[in-house]
């Protein structure tokens, strides 16, 4: 393990990281967000889900620095007296979990199909890529809405809320695999013709074994970069779906749900209920994208 860290601190990636203050700042933001989300139960000043601690008299408290603000509620409270800062922390936990699992799922699907498609080629390749083309002609949100709609129709009423998160993850994952499949297929087409793959074929190894032991490790670089960027967009899709009301239920609010709830009060002057979750969302996605963009530049040998 020490060896691993020694190699990491000696690598070109770490060197490039140290030279970019903006990337360092973005990485710090991502770290703080993930940390607060992971340890929300310990870090958050209030527990927004503990109904006993909620008092309606605290409802619509404005942020601490405004005239009617209270020091205990830094970013103010919502219509039920919940502390917004705590709600954002718990909300970003849901958002991040959903996004990360969705990205991992779509990565698995995309990598497998991309490897098969690129390595075996022929009719299978044509079929997978046409399916991908068809899927690309639908907006991701539409596909997610469709899957959610089907799930609602199939499942009995009432039980939907309990599986809503799973449906959401599945919907986001299924709308994202195409990117991975295309990236992996492109790299696989290059790697397939390299001589180390041919050497493995001459040794007599099975195509599936060659795909996963030889080709996969060599196409993973661009995929990991893509995955970082996709976490950002998955958080956005999750936010959009929750905003539209087809995402996670209000009992387990994500950032999108918080924004939707706050939206009702935007015109009556309680701007903070929607603005702060929105800002948190923008900040998180922006930071992830900056880190992802930087990773893409560093890992692209052509730019070095």
């Amino acid at each position: 393990m020490g060896n691993f860290f020694a190699r990491m601190f000696d690598s070109d990636i770490w060197f490039s990281f140290k030279q970019r203050p903006i990337v360092m700042l973005a990485a710090l933001v991502v770290f703080v967000c993930v940390f607060c989300a992971t340890f929300a139960s310990f870090v958050a000043p209030h527990n927004p889900f503990d109904l006993k601690t909620l008092e309606l008299s605290n409802a619509f408290t404005s942020p601490a620095w405004t005239a009617n603000g209270k020091a205990t509620f830094l970013l103010g409270t919502d219509d039920q007296g919940r502390d917004l800062l705590s709600a954002i922390m718990f909300g970003s936990r849901t958002s991040i979990i959903v996004a990360v699992i969705a990205v991992m799922l779509s990565m698995t699907i995309g990598i497998s199909l991309g490897l098969l498609s690129g390595y075996l080629g022929g009719k299978l390749d044509a079929f997978i890529m046409r399916v991908a083309d068809v899927q690309l002609s639908f907006p991701a949100i539409l596909i997610a809405l469709l899957i959610d709609g089907v799930a609602r129709a199939v499942m009995p009423k009432g039980s939907h809320d309990s599986v809503a998160v799973l449906v959401l993850i599945f919907a986001i994952a299924l709308s994202g695999w195409v990117q991975y499949a295309r990236t992996v297929r492109g790299s696989t087409l290059v790697e397939r013709n390299k001589e180390y793959v041919q050497a493995a074929r001459v040794i007599g190894r099975h195509p599936i074994a060659i795909m996963f032991t030889h080709v996969l490790p060599n196409v993973l670089g661009p995929v990991l970069v893509l995955a970082t960027l996709q976490v950002g967009s998955a958080i956005l899709i999750e936010g959009t779906l929750s905003y539209l009301g087809v995402g996670v239920p209000p009992t387990q609010p994500s950032l999108g749900t918080l924004i939707r709830v706050g939206n009702d009060f935007l015109n009556s002057g309680e701007w903070w209920i929607t603005v702060f979750p929105g800002l948190a969302l923008v900040m998180l996605v922006l930071a992830i994208n900056i880190v992802g963009d930087w990773l893409r530049d560093v890992m692209n040998p052509k730019l070095n």
């Binding site: 070109d12 060197f15 390299k194 001589e195 180390y196 041919q198 050497a199 493995a200 074929r201 001459v202 040794i203 007599g204 190894r205 030889h214 490790p217 060599n218």
Partner: protein, 576 residues
């Protein structure tokens, strides 16, 4: 600034030091190198890869890869000190006074413009007062001069409509049309076949003599140097170690390094037992390891039955690629990469396949190795038809008996795996060893046999040079205890001294193990040194087969004769 430059020199570089500052400190690519060229003179700069010869060329034209810089010395082109020139002035000098010919004719032309347009555009930049139609006439004239047939028609063609050799001629026309006084030619013929190589070199020589242009020919190819250069600079690790006339350097080199460099060049006239190598391994230390390796490698495998038939027999082998797909059969176009080849390789024999690029020699190697299915014909390995369906165990036994060594040592090892995993893959997969400990000892034995330390096992491929990687590939190919080895241009990506070491290794292994080899190469001299019998290929057809002596001393086919006469021979210089 004190400029005591003789006006007779087109280029005079004095004590040039070129540095690349990096995060691991300063890397000095060139140490106080001095060279000069007179107008109309052709000098050669030779050395192995990494010697800094291209870096000097790039410094003269001020196209060093950043963050490289010339930290000391002066570079004087026709009386102008270029190191103190402003960027804009340097840009004017580039092309008009200094021209550059790059290695790869495929990438040095813009594929979206016709060659005529590219030549005219270049001339417009340097002679803005001339009219377009006059320049067009001149462009046709230039294409004529560099020997493009039907220049008046071809001026409107795109680069992809020219062959590789013609493209390099177009590049030369493109450089010469600006009428530079100095040309830097960086490996101008490396990407070309033997017959084209000679034509392009003679073209450069002729035009330069005619127009009194100074030429710096940067190459690793001693043959090219002996053809056209008048004086030679030999570089080693960033230093010029020897300079002199071509006859003196090639015929009577003074420095030890130059001597070994020249001795390592494969000769085409006589077969030598071993190549002279630059650093002789201490024989006593390694014999014990070699014996143990030999012992392991010659253990007979009962799983793989040995038959007494010809090891390899090809019967009317054909391979056709579709070059244009169409629904209508009549619109389809095919390329017959291999067009009816029949040959036999006997046990213990090294059979060479030689020919220019695109003649189908590599395709034959791939078909034998099972990487490319043949369109028709039969491949018999020890009497067994490779196309037949057989059980997985029998198939695996066949795979074990036959291994391949590839051309590009930089891509033939998986960059993400340690050397031990690369070499052990066939051992583990074919279950040659009982347990991991035995796998390890076998890998170390094999690595020792090819001249690598046991410590190499833990490293990754990028930590090794091309020659070392090729050794590792040889170790991997031996790991199944094969009886038949297909070598596909195993040394064409290596420097000449490394090539000599690698060929020696292959020769020793072949003799010790009694291996049968199919040796594919475009290099006639390498084939001459390695092979017992030779097949000459042209456009998918085997035009001549015979023992190496027959083919090289008494070629029967016109094409073989043409190939042999195109080889630069350095013997006339050696005599002088």
């Amino acid at each position: 600034m004190n400029q005591s430059v003789q006006t007779s020199d087109a280029l005079k570089a004095t004590d040039v030091r070129i540095e690349f500052p990096g995060r691991r400190g300063l890397f000095t690519a060139v140490h106080s190198a001095s060279l000069h060229v007179a107008p109309g003179e052709i000098i050669g700069v030779v050395g192995e890869s990494g010697a800094g010869k291209s870096t000097i060329g790039n410094a003269v034209i001020q196209l060093l890869e950043p963050p490289g810089r010339v930290s000391e010395g002066s570079i004087n082109v026709l009386g102008t000190e270029i190191l103190s020139l402003a960027k804009d002035d340097m840009a004017k000098l580039r092309g008009s006074t200094i021209g550059m010919i790059f290695q790869d004719p495929m990438t040095s032309l813009n594929p979206l413009y016709t060659v005529g347009k590219q030549i005219i555009e270049t001339m417009q930049t340097h002679f803005p007062q001339q009219s377009e139609s006059a320049l067009r006439e001149k462009a046709i004239d230039w294409l004529n001069k560099v020997g493009i047939p039907n220049a008046a028609l071809r001026v409107d063609n795109y680069p992809h409509q020219f062959s590789g050799g013609q493209r390099q001629r177009v590049v030369i026309a493109l450089v010469l049309c600006a009428e530079p006084r100095l040309i830097i030619a960086d490996e101008p013929t490396t990407a070309l076949d033997v017959t084209l190589k000679r034509q392009v070199l003679e073209l450069i020589k002729g035009l330069c003599k005619e127009r009194q242009v100074a030429v710096v020919l940067i190459t690793h190819d001693m043959g090219a140097i002996s053809e056209i250069a008048e004086r030679v600079y030999v570089m080693l690790k960033g230093r010029i170690v020897e300079e002199g006339t071509t006859a003196q350097i090639l015929g009577a080199p003074r420095e030890e390094y130059t001597k070994s460099l020249i001795a390592a060049i494969p000769r085409i006239d006589v077969k030598v037992k071993r190549f002279h190598v630059v650093d002789n391994e201490s024989a006593s230390r390694i014999t014990a390891v070699h014996d143990r390796a030999l012992q392991w490698l010659t253990v007979s495998d009962t799983i793989v039955p040995v038959s007494d038939k010809a090891v390899l027999k090809l019967e009317d082998l054909r391979c056709t690629f579709v070059t244009r797909r169409s629904w209508l059969p009549k619109n389809r176009r095919y390329l017959n990469a291999v067009d009816g080849v029949s040959l036999e390789v006997q046990r213990g024999e090294v059979f060479g396949l030689v020919g220019e690029s695109g003649c189908g020699k590599t395709t034959i190697g791939k078909m034998v190795a099972g990487l490319q299915p043949p369109t028709s014909g039969r491949i018999l390995f020890e009497g067994l038809d490779l196309a037949e369906k057989r059980s997985r165990t029998e198939e695996m036994a066949l795979r074990r008996a036959m291994q391949m060594i590839f051309q590009d040592p930089y891509s033939s090892l998986n960059p993400r795996r340690r050397i031990i995993d690369c070499v052990a893959e066939p051992i583990r997969f074919h279950k040659v060893a009982k347990d991991e400990a035995e796998v390890r000892s076998i890998v170390e034995l094999l690595l020792a046999r090819v001249g690598m330390d046991a410590a190499a096992a833990e490293k990754y491929p990028h930590q090794f040079s091309g020659g070392q990687r090729q050794r590792i590939c040889i170790a991997r190919a031996l790991a199944t205890r094969p009886r038949f080895l297909i070598c596909d241009e195993p040394t064409s990506a290596l420097d000449v001294s490394i090539q000599a070491q690698t060929l020696n290794l292959l020769k020793d292994l072949q003799e010790d193990l009694g291996l049968t080899m199919l040796f594919v190469s475009h290099d006639l001299a390498v084939i001459r040194q390695m092979c017992d019998r030779v097949g000459v290929m042209r456009a998918g057809v085997l035009v001549e087969v015979g023992t190496a002596e027959q083919v090289f001393n008494d070629p029967q086919h016109e094409y073989t004769k043409a190939l042999l006469s195109a080889m630069p021979s350095m013997q006339h210089l050696a005599m002088a």
